[in-house]
């Protein structure tokens, strides 16, 4: 039987506010345990939550970016369950009335097609703390620094049909929240993570199959692997005559498998009800407009502009707009050097290659956009050839100074003096009478041999176009 996979994602994006969603404590990552947990975060008797307006603005920003309805009135609800890293015994979240309603994003598929993925809703909630199971000898340590950190939970429609689509969607949301500067997107620190709801059904069947929820996946690679494993597991179960059970599963990246965490019968009854400590969140139309005015150019619009304005191919525009920082870098280089395609080639080629190899982000590049455009300017004004430029780039990457300095120090300036090139050509021709005879006898291919010899004699610095022209004259003359 042919099976169809159905995937929906719940993405948790940690909002980049300085303080927590319901208290004034700092959200900075990596502090000593429990040093960034105030009375409110500790759930002390008598304390009360006060909503962080910055978190609300960020949620609105996201909603506008996915063309969603911003709820004029939304409600915070308590999700009740006991866990040691949940200080109050309930999490403040939104349940029936979320702040962001239905919206959508467009993803790019590998075959060049695009697909619209629906976003059911996005709501604000607080994160829990962390339970530390190591180093406590049979006990559990609790770190409440993370408790109360604002999260935006972004719930998709079950619109994805493969792990690759799920990853493309997740990457799209990742790019979006970073463009909007509402989340740092740091997956290792848990600032961006997701739960995947996965089911399979016979191709052509309308009804969904029974789903399993895979919890807390914190990398694109793991999302793809976890979903692929889970899909195969479910198909195996079904083809073996069994039934998929509704359950929560965990992905184990070491073993590359998912395993059951709790079944439906053990699922919590969260006893949601409106939090009486917080008034309904009312958002005025002018607040929404004020936030709209702060929206940056979004990835899709930027990509179109790169195609229209710079004449870049779709592919280049897509790659270069994957992150706001990369796009900004490209644009700075393109503007400074005036040749967008050349800039695109270098940013996507030499630069990205070097960054990948070194494991660096674009923002950490040792070669700044100014420095790179300085190098490209020397290609454009023919001071150096593209080939020599790669050598210069490597020296710049290694901290040997800007392009002009490297060119000067290494003596890489291109030879454009015709008489110098002619002299070199004459010497080569004189030294290779046999090849000259063969060439003149019709062996055209030997032209390349002469180019190589002249380049060798000039240490690669002869201007290639001039060399070609002069060599042709001499050989044919």
């Amino acid at each position: 039987m042919e099976w169809e996979t159905v995937i929906g994602l719940e993405i948790h994006a940690q909002l980049a506010t300085r303080s927590k969603i319901f208290s004034g404590a700092s959200t900075a990552y990596g502090a000593e345990p429990n040093t960034q947990a105030c009375l409110v975060d500790l759930g002390m008797p008598g304390v009360l939550p006060v909503l962080n307006e910055g978190a609300v603005r960020m949620a609105i920003k996201f909603g506008l970016a996915i063309n969603a309805q911003i709820a004029p009135r939304s409600v915070f609800a308590r999700k009740n369950y006991f866990y040691p890293d949940l200080p109050k015994g309930y999490q403040i979240s939104q349940f029936e009335l979320p702040v962001v309603g239905h919206g959508q994003v467009t993803i790019d598929l590998e075959d060049g097609q695009r697909k619209v993925i629906g976003v059911t809703r996005a709501h604000l909630e607080e994160d829990a703390g962390k339970s530390l199971h190591e180093d406590f000898h049979g006990m559990t340590g609790i770190d409440l620094n993370r408790a109360g950190t604002p999260l935006l939970e972004i719930v998709s429609e079950p619109d994805m049909r493969s792990a690759k689509e799920a990853v493309a969607y997740m990457k799209k949301i990742h790019a979006l929240v970073r463009y909007l500067e509402i989340c740092d997107g740091n997956m290792q620190e848990g600032s961006f993570r997701c739960d995947a709801n996965v089911s399979v059904r016979p191709k052509g069947q309308h009804a969904f199959g029974t789903r399993a929820e895979i919890k807390n996946i914190n990398s694109f690679r793991f999302v793809e692997r976890a979903i692929n494993y889970e899909v195969e597991r479910q198909i195996d179960v079904l083809e073996g005559g069994g039934k998929v059970v509704q359950e929560t599963r965990l992905y184990d990246p070491d073993k590359g498998e998912t395993r059951s965490m709790r079944g439906k019968e053990d699922s919590h009854d969260y006893r949601y009800f409106p939090d009486p400590d917080l008034l309904p969140l009312e958002i005025a139309a002018d607040t929404i407009e004020a936030v709209r005015a702060t929206l940056p150019e979004l990835p899709d619009a930027k990509r179109s502009r790169f195609v229209d304005h710079y004449g870049l191919p779709e592919y280049d525009a897509t790659v270069l707009t994957a992150s706001r920082e990369l796009a900004d870098y490209f644009e700075a280089v393109a503007k400074a050097c005036g040749e967008a395609k050349l800039a695109a080639n270098w940013v996507m080629g030499e630069l990205s290659g070097a960054l990948n190899k070194a494991g660096l982000e674009i923002t950490e590049s040792p070669v700044s956009s100014d420095a790179l455009s300085g190098l490209l300017a020397r290609i454009i004004d023919k001071t150096i050839s593209g080939k020599i430029a790669k050598e210069v780039f490597e020296a710049m990457w290694n901290g040997e100074g800007d392009a002009d300095r490297v060119i000067e120090q290494k003596g890489l300036r291109q030879i454009t003096d015709s008489s110098a090139i002619e002299a070199a050509i004459d010497a080569v021709i004189a030294a290779n009478p046999t090849q000259l005879e063969q060439y003149r006898g019709g062996k055209d291919k030997l032209f390349g041999f002469f180019v190589g010899q002249v380049m060798k004699a000039t240490q690669g610095k002869a201007n290639p176009a001039q060399l070609n022209e002069l060599l042709k004259q001499k050989l044919d003359g």
């Binding site: 009375l39 500790l42 759930g43 002390m44 008797p45 008598g46 304390v47 009360l48 939550p49 006060v50 909503l51 308590r78 009740n80 006991f82 040691p84 200080p87 109050k88 015994g89 309930y90 559990t140 609790i142 009854d269 006893r271 949601y272 009800f273 009486p276 400590d277 917080l278 008034l279």
Partner: protein, 486 residues
Amino acid sequence: MKELHQQSVAELAAGLARGDFSSVELTEALLARIAQHDDRLNSYISVTAERALEQARAADSARAAGQAGPLTGVPLAHKDIFCTRGIRTSCGSKMLDTFISPYDATVVERLDRAGMVMLGKTNMDEFAMGSSNETSFYGPVRNPWDTETVPGGSSGGSAAAVAARLAPIATGTDTGGSIRQPAALCGITGLKPTYGVVSRYGMIAFASSLDQAGPMGRSAEDCALLLGAMAGFDERDSTSLDRPVDDYTATLETPLDGLRIGLPQEFFGDGLDGEVARVIDEAVAELRRLGAEPVEISLPNTALAVPTYYVVAPAECSSNLSRFDGVRFGHRCDAPRDLEDLYKRSRGEGFGAEVKRRIMIGTYALSSGYYDAYYLKAQKLRRLISDDFRAAFAQCDVIAGPTAPTPAFRLGEKADDPVTMYLSDIYTIAVNLAGLPALSMPAGFSQGLPVGLQLIGNYFSEARLLGVAHRYQQATDWHTRSPDGF
């Protein structure tokens, strides 16, 4: 000069201002009375003598430096539901018997800043759940008018302490009548303000949408003085209202001429003790003599108030009390085997029977499959009850009636019958569901026990209620009576 403990807050403030006595002398006198009499009442859980004397000395210095405010140096007692930094804040529960609060409630902070002197923390029903002060981990409070009877609850300690002159005034909290009912049973004046007038920050939550703090004193004037210092917007409480604080003392003398007093027929029917009814009738007659005009009104959904309340309040408390899990503070069982054991035994040992009963009712009411039938239905009824009051206030300015159906009942009389106990709040509960202000003041006696008259006002009419009560108290002397033997 009246003995210090017999003086009202207004009188004490004047005496301190004139220099008739110092705050230290006053505080010492009251601490001595507490030491002498409180064994018979158990109205205090903690007496904070050292801190009180320290605050009194500071108050006297402030006065000497010309920096005294109207309440500087006046002692008071706080219900043990308010967090007090460095001092045990027990909420009447074993769960918090060892809990030393790391911070002050807003109410405590404001009254400290006003220069008031905290004598101690008063006894209360466990987590404010009770109407007789018998659910306290620290034992029942006794009513100073008859120590075989209850003082009411949950602010029974505050009411008994003020009635027995062991504190000039005290703070209380009222979720379903917890200020007004003990005020009535102990013969004092107590006001529950409009929801949101006094900050809830640092007040240990029972039912967040109903809880409201207020003053419990000997007179309306004293309550007006204390409320003025307690009230006001607090950015730490999202449900606190951002509006200027009224001057509650400025309008105390407003005559009652033409004041329409609504008498809800539902407050005078079955279940009301005959003697209590007689006292209330006489009080209404007195108000009429003072110029008020009684009008018959109806609050048709009154009978729904108790059942509605006993869904809403337990639902909220079941969630509010989840934080008492033995993990970070409060009672933790010995040698827990695992997490579940830690939860079960810590909570099982730390909470008393009434608290557990309400947690279970609330958990049930919020459970999937029951939520609509209970919690949502209760929210709808809550709206109907509010609508009753809205309609009533189109016909009258203030509603009057009994605070409680009976005077103080005997200790143990209703302890094993929760529903009968719950019905002792039948006249007070609807007010919390609607978020309205209401007060109770002494209006006479039934067989030697005080009877309270309840006045309910429209939103933000605290000043009006206090004014009506003040005029009544100027014409009567019920509020000046104090129990024999104290």
